[in-house]
Amino acid sequence: MRYFTPELLLRFRSLDDDVADTAEAAWEQAIKRYRRHWKKISPQLPESVRRFHDEYCLHDADVFGPAKLSVQTLPWGFHDVVLVAQPLNPSFPEHPNTLLFLQYAMAAEPIVEVPVRADAFHLERPTWLYDEFDLIEPGVFVHEILLSDGRVVKLRFRELRFHLATIIEPAEEGRKVPVTGKAVSA
């Protein structure tokens, strides 16, 4: 992460007001710098990346992965990596009860690091905190994601596809629900 670093986040969360105030100013600067960076690189990014950036805010989403797809998962690419997120942000009510599958055609091995270990990073139920895109060279991009457990996921990719899937809710009482091919009464 170049902008929204785990170190800066920890300073923002500091109980020392002087440290927290300085970090708040630094965070505002990081947002401005990242927006300028995004404006500069976005014309060279794939349309899917621009759409993802403009339409989704996965902050607070539950995250599963990253996971590598294998030969058994044809017709996917052998080196594709997926991340699954469950968006929880009510600012985006068009995505309630959905899972978002992010599928990356990789240009290099994914990197998962924990750059800073701190109690402020909770290990249970990892959620999406902050992310950044960058352009490495024409046709090669990177997506870095900071998760709430302190992991930084770095995905160097050539193509990003994403799929939104609606979660199937339990049926209301009294309605029949097909389960494993059978209709059962609730």
Partner: protein, 115 residues
């Protein structure tokens, strides 16, 4: 008799207020009715959002933390770049349960008023 010159009193910013909150477009946090601290904790326990509005970031942050601490273990998140230009920093429960947030205003970021 010479008129006594009025002494300039140091200006004391008004204390922060706690308001119900809803979320709007571009990351906006929309302030609703003013509520008490006890009501704010109850609202959060019921899964709703609240926002601390005031002039001083430190005071707002401390009050937001105090409310969130009464609900349970929590963490503080700065505004997200893609959440929109009007997003506010916020506390939420580590477990996300109850799911509400305690937002607070800073010198640079303010809650929106109900249209």
């Amino acid at each position: 008799m010479a008129a006594r010159k009025a002494r300039a009193r140091p200006s004391v910013p008004p204390p922060p207020c706690i308001c119900e909150a809803t979320r709007g477009s571009l990351g906006r946090v929309i302030r609703g009715a003013e509520i008490t601290e006890t009501q704010a904790v109850a609202a959060h326990l019921a899964g709703r959002d609240v926002v601390i509005c005031g002039m001083e970031t430190r005071v707002n942050r401390a009050l937001a933390r105090k409310i969130e601490n009464q609900v349970g273990p929590n963490e503080l998140d700065p505004p997200h770049a893609t959440a929109g230009p009007y997003a506010l920093p916020h506390f939420h429960q580590v477990t996300r349960n109850p799911p509400g947030h305690t937002f607070y205003e800073t010198a640079r970021r303010k809650a929106a008023k109900k249209p």
